[in-house]
């Protein structure tokens, strides 16, 4: 009788485990495959979001990426704010830079914005921790605890950050801005969290590519592996999330 009971118990347990396995497995597998995360879950370091710029395809007279960013995030021509600030005081989240080689005269054009470093100097120097890097590599400013000391602007090797010199009205829900705080490219973090690409990339798919640098199967990783991509000021050892081809 004892043996029978044991057998029945064993059968029951094995069926239970099998049933549990069937119930849980798809979830586990789906989690491994899917890139997007449910809204109620925190971002994870499994992803490292990055942008690849092909400077050969970046036209010097084109400003589409900048305009798209302005409209998406409500700065520059995308808003009627910052009327009192001088041109040197107005925010610029992304800018087009023209390079001319001093020796050869070769001219190139590229967009420059926050490079979303793995080791960001702005995050290191921020006294309150307002400058921060998400687990997925996106570098942001927490507007609630930024005290406006501008040390991050001194530390950023790319001059990617701007300080807001006056009162801001009618800000976008997806891009909070406020007087006396520092701001920069957010890699359109709200869009990324909604499984979309950043506005600049959407506006210029010929020269810009967005994706997960940690996923060897992503388009950006495959392209980087095949054709390479340089970091601006790679000597600083920051391991930037924005890479450039052709520089």
């Amino acid at each position: 009788m004892n043996n029978n009971t044991d057998k029945a118990r064993r059968n029951f347990m094995s069926k239970l485990v099998a049933a549990a396995g069937v119930a849980v497995a798809p979830g586990v597998i789906l989690h491994q495959v899917a890139q997007a995360k449910p809204a109620d879950q925190p971002v994870s370091s499994k992803n490292r979001w990055g942008i690849l710029v092909n400077t050969d395809k970046c036209a010097s007279n084109c400003n589409d990426c900048v305009t798209a960013c302005e409209n998406e995030n409500g700065w520059g021509s995308g808003s009627d704010n910052e009327q009192l600030s001088s041109p040197l005081q107005k925010s610029q989240w992304i800018r087009k830079v023209k390079l001319t080689d001093n020796q050869t005269g070769h001219v190139q054009s590229l967009p420059l914005m926050c490079q979303h470093c793995e080791n960001p100097p702005c995050v290191d120097v921020c006294p309150t921790g307002a400058s921060m890097k998400r687990a997925d590599g996106i570098v942001l400013v927490d507007k609630h605890i930024c005290i406006g000391c501008r040390y991050c602007m001194m530390a950023c090797p790319y001059k990617a950050r701007s300080f807001i010199h006056e009162e801001i009205h009618n800000q976008r829900v997806n891009a909070p801005r406020g007087i006396g705080t520092v701001e920069a490219c957010t890699m359109c973090v709200v869009r990324v969290d909604n499984d979309q690409t950043p506005a600049c990339v959407e506006a210029c798919e010929s020269a810009l590519m967005f994706g997960d640098l940690n996923d060897p199967g992503s388009r950006i990783s495959i392209e980087l592996k095949k054709n390479g991509g340089e970091q601006i000021r790679a000597d600083l050892g920051l391991n930037t999330g924005v890479r450039y081809q052709g520089i």
Binding site: P127, T128, I145, G180, I232
Partner: protein, 403 residues
Amino acid sequence: MKKITFSEIEGWSSGYLALLAILGAIVLVGLGSAFYMEHHGHYVTGMNNQIVWGVPHVFAVFLIVAASGALNTASISSVFGKVAYKPLARMSALLSIALLVGGLMVLVLDLGRADRLIVAMTKYNFKSIFAWNMILYNGFFAIVGAYLWMLMDARLGKKFARPVGFFAFLWRLALTTGTGSIFGFLVARQAYDAAIMAPMFVVMSFSFGLAILLLILLASYKWSGREFGDALFTRLKNLLGIFVAGVLYFVIAYHLTNLYAAEHTGVEHFILLNGGIYSNMFWYGQILLGSLVPLALFYHPTWGKSRLLVGLGAALVIIGGWFQMYVIIIGGQAFPLVLFPGKTVESSFSDGIINSYTPTLAEFGLGLGGFATALIAVALAVKVLRLMPTSLADADVDPHYKK
């Protein structure tokens, strides 16, 4: 050497009241400037997204550096046992606290969100040198405050003045190292990113702090009709001369090292040769007026005996120090970041060009307000506390005095 007696100043003379009125007015101008900047936003200043730290920071860093240096005279007596400096220890400690108050006032009131000071006090990123500095500054008040107490309490002082003074000395070295490292740790800027910044700031603090202390002593002893003997006066101005020469040495070492490295020749040419206002400030302000002229005044056989000329020399050290801060802080930002070596860079965001900066009156108002706050604190303190020896005559304070 007799026992030193300390006493408050009477503090009702018309000269004293006029001094308080003038300093008070400057403090009000400073607070008004801060309110104006806070109310409108930083667009009313000359600071922008290229020159992010301006004249307020020149004043603030100067005062903070001078604060730690002002403590030096006390340290020489308590830590290094030089009795000749003991009569000045109380004034030295008080002045260092006052200067730090003035410097921090400017720094804090310039913040984009000065209203969030509580955030800065409660949220720390311990990798940030700024966060360390907040701890170092607050600790400085506590430790130097305790030290001043030990210096003023004969019974406790006998036992504790030396150890507390020693601790304060170490703390002030850490503080100035931290202040210099604000710039030393900036890896990407051509003019900064140098370990020598920290020791250079320490020697600068010796010089600026002692220059301010010497001027205050000369003025306060003259105005209060107390005697200030030649022996102590000569010691102080000779010591100041050594500190000025020390700063010069560090400045030369810093620029020579940079000149040697091809990657830094651009910024060196900018500061030393073709930087316009910055080159002029460096050569005429910092080197000539702030270093060479004071050295000549201090060590010249006859000029060095004149209180007026030595006082002028100390004032020039302060002015030269201010120019030095201006060249370091603003000149360092004016030179563009080098993102693409070997390429000419152009953009809508001032890439590749020398950044321009025209400070506004509000910035000077705030900075001078901080200076005046430090001085009014000293003026009030000598009236209510026994900080000033009744006499600094040779017969009273010189350990080697012979009739």
